[in-house]
């Protein structure tokens, strides 16, 4: 039993779990035909059936039941603030499964030439009473009951009077901001705290303008929108839910990483040996002193970032995203690809950190400007 726990502790380290998730991700949510073939071949699509759903839920539940027997796991999961987050995890998994199940059902029907389920629905008419109002009433009553039971069973997580000389360790943001807080590990505050949230907002705003594919409109489908759904789920599950989960359950005192069965030891110390790209470039690779000129010093970083945002879209337009470019046209393509690249920069930065201990690509502390 202890070996299992130790194993889980080790693999839940972000370096390993994040990599594993990325590797598995495109087989579970294939973005193109090639992956889709393998996906079908490995019969992963069975996940989105009733049986698959039961398996996923059983697995999740067994994990929690197993985990709760461990004192450290129990302490974190049953904290009154964390209980609803555990429930949210279930909801995320449920709705993911539920939508994909309908999408796969529809795919099958479309393959058979029947058209999606929703098309059938649209032909029928239902009454406001009882079909809508009754269901709403039932939902209302059940939510009311749920809130009452919750309020009775779990006390409000009140703590001691606030004291400016005592900061809680770890100091955590509300759960919905923990993704952002987790990004702070890898980015300068102005990027993680200002730029990324803005880009996310703008990204959402621009979706209707960028997405001119009418398929899947009004009905669930996966096959017809493989790329779009895959990209969306990548951001949603990997870059948001995963980060929140990590931030909530796996970040302990001093924002150190702790496995789910690990004791939150305040004394745990992790070596911080991060360097900037300029230091790596001049000092490690060329054995030279850092240039005193700021621009010269940060030239490698600027070039790299410039290439990433300036050159890479052009190359992609000619290669991987040729079709996309053709469909969107130059302006919409530029907007799309810039957002996409900024979003992908998050995992890239994570790997740069883990692989090369890179702190910043461009670091100009003189002007509080770091990338």
């Amino acid at each position: 039993m202890e070996q299992i726990k130790d194993f889980i502790n080790i693999i839940s380290a972000p370096q390993i779990s994040f990599t594993a998730i990325i590797l598995l991700f495109f087989f579970i949510f294939p973005p193109n035909d090639l992956f889709y073939k393998i996906h079908r071949g490995l019969r992963i699509h069975k996940l989105w059936t009733k049986g698959g759903g039961i398996t996923i839920f059983s697995f999740l539940t067994i994990f929690f039941i197993f985990g709760i027997t461990d004192q450290n796991f129990r302490m974190i999961v049953t904290k009154p603030d964390n209980v609803p987050i555990v429930a949210l995890l279930y909801l995320v998994v449920f709705f993911l499964w539920f939508s994909l199940k309908q999408a796969y059902d529809n795919d099958k029907r479309i393959d058979e030439g029947k058209g999606p389920n929703e098309a059938e629905d649209a032909k029928q008419k239902v009454l406001v009473w009882p079909d809508l109002v009754y269901i709403e009433l039932i939902a209302m009553v059940s939510v009311a009951a749920l809130l009452l039971v919750w309020a009775v069973a779990l006390g409000a997580p009140l703590e001691e009077p606030a004291n400016p000389t005592v900061s809680p360790n770890p100091s955590k943001a509300p759960w919905y901001f923990l993704g952002l807080q987790e990004m702070l590990v890898y980015f300068d505050p102005w990027i993680a705290g200002v730029l990324f949230p803005t880009v996310i907002m703008l990204g959402f705003i621009s979706i209707p303008f960028l997405d001119n594919n009418r398929k899947g409109s009004g009905y669930f489908t996966f096959k017809e929108r493989k790329m779009a759904i895959s990209i969306f789920l990548f951001f949603w599950l990997v870059l948001w839910i995963f980060l929140i989960t990590t931030g909530t359950f796996l970040r302990g005192p001093n924002w150190n990483f702790f496995g789910p069965f690990e004791y939150w030891d305040k004394h745990k110390l992790v070596a911080l040996t991060n360097v900037n790209l300029s230091e790596l470039f001049y000092m490690v690779w060329q054995n030279k002193q850092l240039p005193s000129n700021i621009l010269l010093r940060e030239m490698p970083g600027f070039l790299l970032v410039g290439a990433y945002l300036g050159l890479l879209p052009l190359i992609l337009a000619k290669t991987l995203f040729k079709k996309v470019y053709e469909r969107l046209g130059p302006i919409r393509y530029s907007v799309f690809i810039i957002f996409l690249l900024i979003a992908i920069s998050l995992p890239i930065k994570m790997y740069l950190r883990w692989g090369f201990n890179i702190k910043y690509l461009v670091s100009i502390p003189e002007f509080f400007f770091n990338i």
Partner: protein
């Protein structure tokens, strides 16, 4: 409703789901009510009510039995019966007159109403009249007429009302007079039945069997849910304290204590044996009761006990168990768990005394708080304040001896062995152990410690000044020395105790350990040094607290002979290791690299001789270990304290305390206790360089001592929450505080009783009486108090300020010649003297240090009368009092001060009071009360001065005042100018108060 064909859903199923969910909602709503309604404290209140009823019934039964057996009461009942009959016979005609009275009453009511109405009309008309006057209206005439008529009517009515009233009163008075006897008897009966009535009223209120039907009904429903919002039986009881606050960091909020919601019998004596939470508070004379010093209505509970006063459940009040066993019990019975989110959990009962310090920090001895007093005394004795800043002790002197002339006192070898392990020389020393502790007892550290100690000793001796010692002038005798040590008062502060004993540490035992245990001194120092030291301690150490006992050369030589009799051979045989250049280099290099680069450090090291290395390392080590905090060491005059400030240590939040790898529950108490038991414990399992290790030394405290000190530390808190309850910082209180501090520092209370505390020397006096004076044990026990230094109760009122000043300055008058214990000479500075005098005068309520001069002249006649009073025939003063060289005739246990000092010593007004009524000035005094205060006029001898007691006392006083003169100057005619009247002075304080540190 039926199944509609259009519906997308199966309606029957939906109905089922809806019904089910509705039930769930109802159930959860019910659950909500249940949870809100069912509270532990309600059950406690119900249980308490049952107990209350039971106790009241028992009491009432007992009371009625007493009443039945009380013949006075029975007689009274009989007389009431008789009186009723008499009244029936005599006053019956008044009954018939009742009709008349009713008539009067009716008339009165009618007339009175008429009067009021007419009066109202009159007032309204007055306004109209006045208005028309001012406006010169045309209807002035009419108004004037109406007003006059109404005025007349009002007057007439007022008269008739008055008459009727008088008539009614007359009638009533007659009836009352007839019934007077019965009324009186009934009142008597009521007063006899008083207690029973109170109990009965209580039972009517709480016992359903005794209630009226309406009340029974109300009793049934008043505690039901929702209805209980009006006036339930069970409700939360709370005490709101406006002048004591809870500190919630950003603001102070009034303290609200709801403890009495469950602790219902806390102020009631009847519940002493009741189970918790109903049990009575111990010591009701001091706490809780309305006439005690801390009434519950003014102090609440959590000001002392801590915890969350607003909580109303076992856990939310932050109860803290006292022992692991109690913790298990609580977990089982109350589902107890620690309330982590409350910074001030309740103190376990054994630490409750900590809170006394909050308000009583200025008092030398906090009555009733023995544990806290012991803890504070240990802190004073161990000198915690030398390293740790503690507000209370900022002006206290260093605890250890002066090391600036150490060369002349001890050898280097002794110093080495002593530093290495002080307990190996003196088992109960207060010098703490720095080495061979839990974080430096491995072989490598031990080797390093040896070299460190060598370096420190080298430094101390290199820094030592020269100090010349003379030869011991006489040849001393061991036996005489032993006797002197036992008799002249050395044992007030020193012990001679070769073996450790198991006696518990207390304030008294620590007074006896004020100075070091005088064992094995031959191993420590030379005869010459001891001789020089005891002859004049301040010569060697100007700030020493060791006083001068004015020893003659022979006495000193005898004592030296006694003290240097014993050696500690085991200690002598310890080996002092040689210098190890490699380790020493490492030590020196370690310090050098702190301020130098490696290369510079190496260069410096190479250029040093080994003596220089020792000196350099020694200096740094002394600075690191903080030796200078307790000892005067040359070169460290301005060094800062090295410990954490402890002034508000009790408030420190637990997450600021590093538990390291010690798996103890994270509470402040656990941390303090562990730290005190083993100050290095939190280094366990840690990898640290030698210079980074914890350095607090080990005082080898016992578990009881640890608890006492922990109590004191828990009491070191910020006092702003109780600022309004604390003693005001008036000059008087400051005199008391400062004086008491000085008295503690000088250990005056080991000889004297001051403020009812002290004289711990008495047992050693008793031993001396048996051993050297050959008294029987019974006699010794009887004599020991009078053979000990005097009780200083009341000396502020009693002694002349000038005498007190002179005596403290140089106590060379022998007031009590029979004592062999000596009042030593202290080297007081003038501040100290003023402080002490102000202290004694303040505690005795003496507001004026100097009094009017009193004429103590006597005429010849008065002198003869006084002599007569003084003589054996009358008061026989010399039976107890020494006069000059003449010893008293009574036994030793009654001997009293030399009266020939009366004039110098005593305030004349005080002597009068003293002779009149000694016990009122000094409870328990041996001085007989010659003039019975209850029958003063007849108490004196009738033959002297016409039996005028006041005169007798006055001439006796004047006689005493003249005893110092060889030939009293007798005046033929008494000329006594009356003293000028006392003019109240606006500013009563004559002398500057000691400076107070403003917070």
């Amino acid at each position: 409703m039926g199944n509609l064909p259009e519906s997308h859903y199966k309606l029957d199923k939906l109905h089922m789901i809806f019904a089910l969910l509705a039930l769930v909602l109802l159930g959860s709503l019910g659950g909500l009510f249940m949870k809100d309604y069912s509270r532990d404290w309600k059950d406690y209140q119900k249980r308490f009510r049952v107990m209350e009823i039971e106790k009241a019934r028992v009491k009432q039964d007992a009371e009625s039995i007493t009443l039945n057996e009380d013949t006075a009461y029975q007689d009274l009942l009989k007389s009431i019966e008789e009186s009723k009959k008499t009244i029936e016979a005599n006053c019956s005609h008044f009954e018939t007159n009742n009709e008349k009275l009713t008539n009067f009453q009716t008339k009165y009511d009618i007339e009175n109403q008429k009067y009021k109405q007419t009066k109202a009309d009159l007032d309204a008309t007055r306004f109209l009249l006045e208005e028309s006057k001012s406006h010169h209206d045309s209807d002035l005439q009419i108004n004037q007429q109406t007003f006059d008529t109404l005025n007349e009517q009002t007057n007439a009515l007022a008269l008739s009302v008055e008459n009727l009233d008088t008539q009614i009163k007359n009638e009533e008075a007659q009836y009352k007079a007839c019934k007077a006897e019965l009324t009186e008897l009934e009142r008597n009966a009521r007063s006899i039945m008083g207690t029973q009535n109170v109990i009965q009223r209580k039972l009517d209120r709480i016992d359903p069997n005794e209630m009226s039907l309406a009340n029974q009904l109300a009793n049934l429903i008043r505690d039901l849910p929702i209805i209980d919002l009006s006036n339930p039986n069970n409700k939360i009881q709370q005490i709101v304290l406006k002048d004591i606050t809870d500190d919630v960091i950003f603001t102070q909020i009034p303290k609200v204590d709801r403890c009495i919601t469950c602790h219902l019998g806390i102020t009631n004596k009847d519940y002493e044996d009741a189970p918790q939470p109903f049990k009575t508070h111990p010591n009701l004379d001091l706490f809780m009761a309305n006439d005690s010093a801390h009434p519950i209505e003014e102090f609440g509970c959590t000001i002392c006990h801590q915890g969350r006063g607003r909580g109303t459940s076992f856990n939310s009040t932050a109860h803290t168990p006292q022992t692991p066993q109690q913790k298990r019990e609580w977990e089982e019975n109350y589902n107890w768990e620690r309330m982590h989110h409350w910074d001030k959990p309740m103190f376990p009962v054994k630490y409750s005394q900590a809170s006394c310090f909050k308000c009583h920090s200025g008092e030398a001895n906090i009555a009733g708080a023995e544990k806290l007093n012991t803890g504070l005394k240990i802190i004073e004795k161990a000198g915690c304040y030398n390293c740790h800043e503690i507000d209370k002790y900022t002006e206290w002197p260093k605890s250890g001896p002066d090391l600036t002339k150490i060369k002349s006192k001890i050898s280097k070898e002794f110093a080495y062995k002593w530093i290495k392990d002080p307990t190996s020389f003196r088992h109960n020393t207060w010098m703490p152990s720095y080495f061979n502790q839990s974080n430096n007892d491995d072989d490598v550290s031990k080797k390093r410690s040896e070299q460190e100690i060598l370096a420190m000793t080298h430094f101390l001796f290199a820094q030592s000044e020269d100090y010349s010692l003379e030869k011991v002038k006489k040849k001393g005798k061991f036996e005489n020395g032993e006797k002197l040590v036992a008799s002249i008062g050395c044992l007030a502060c020193h012990e001679v105790k070769p073996q450790a004993d198991e006696a518990l540490t207390s304030v008294d035992s620590l007074r006896r350990q004020h100075g070091p245990n005088l064992i094995g001194l031959a191993s420590k120092t030379s005869k010459e040094w001891i001789f020089d030291w005891i002859k004049n301690p301040t010569r060697y150490h100007p700030e020493t607290r060791m006083p001068n006992l004015r020893l003659s050369d022979q006495e000193a030589a005898d004592i030296v002979a006694y003290l240097t009799q014993e050696r500690n051979t085991e200690f002598d045989n310890q080996v002092v290791p040689g210098m190890d250049p490699i380790i020493l280099d490492d030590i020196a290099l370690n310090f050098l690299t702190r301020v130098n680069t490696k290369e510079q450090a190496n260069d410096k090291l190479v250029s040093m001789t080994s003596d220089q290395k020792l000196f350099f390392s020694g200096e740094k080590l002394i600075s690191q270990y903080g030796c200078y905090a307790c000892h005067n060491i040359k070169g460290f005059e301005d060094a800062k304290k090295i410990g954490t400030e402890l002034t508000e240590e009790g408030d420190k939040s637990v997450n600021k305390l590093d538990f390291g790898y010690i798996h103890k529950e994270h509470t402040k108490i656990a941390w303090f206790e562990e730290k005190l038991k083993d100050p290095r414990i939190f280094d366990k399992h840690k990898e640290k360089a030698p210079g980074d290790k914890l350095i607090m030394p080990n005082f080898n405290l016992s578990q009881e001592e640890v608890e006492s000190v922990t109590t004191a530390i828990l009491g070191f808190v910020n006092t702003k929450t109780v600022a309004k309850k604390s003693k005001a910082r008036t000059p008087e209180n400051l005199f008391q505080e400062k004086g008491a501090d000085l008295i503690k520092q000088l250990n005056c209370q080991s000889c004297h009783i001051i403020e009812g505390e002290g004289r711990t020397i008495a047992p050693s006096i008793e031993e001396w009486l048996v051993k050297y004076e050959k008294e029987t044990e019974a006699d010794a026990a009887k004599y020991k108090d009078n053979m000990s230094p005097p009780d200083l109760h009341g000396i502020g009122k009693k002694l002349n300020t000038e005498f007190l000043f002179n005596f403290l300055h140089s106590p060379d008058q022998t007031i009590r010649p029979w004592l062999s214990v000596r009042m030593p000479s202290y080297t007081f500075n003038v501040d100290h003297l003023n402080m002490l005098i102000q202290y004694f005068q303040t505690i005795d309520g003496e507001t004026r240090p100097y009094r009017d001069q009193v004429n103590t002249d006597l005429t010849k006649k008065e002198y003869t009368a006084a002599e007569n009073l003084f003589s054996v025939e009358n008061l026989d003063c010399q039976k107890c009092h020494v006069v000059g060289s003449k010893n008293p005739s009574g036994t030793k246990d009654t001997w009293a001060p030399d009266l020939s000092f009366a004039q110098q010593r005593l305030k004349p007004e005080w002597v009068i009071e003293w002779i009149k009524n000694p016990t009122s000035l000094m409870p328990g005094t041996k001085m007989p009360t010659f003039f019975d205060p209850d029958d003063f006029e007849n108490s004196g001898p009738e033959t002297i001065l016409d039996g005028n007691e006041n005169e007798q006392i006055r001439v006796l006083r004047n006689y005493l005042m003249s005893l110092a003169d060889k030939k009293p100057d007798l005046k033929e005619k008494k000329k006594q100018t009356p003293p000028p009247p006392v003019v109240p002075i606006a500013v009563p304080i004559v002398v500057e108060p000691p400076t107070e540190q403003q917070p």
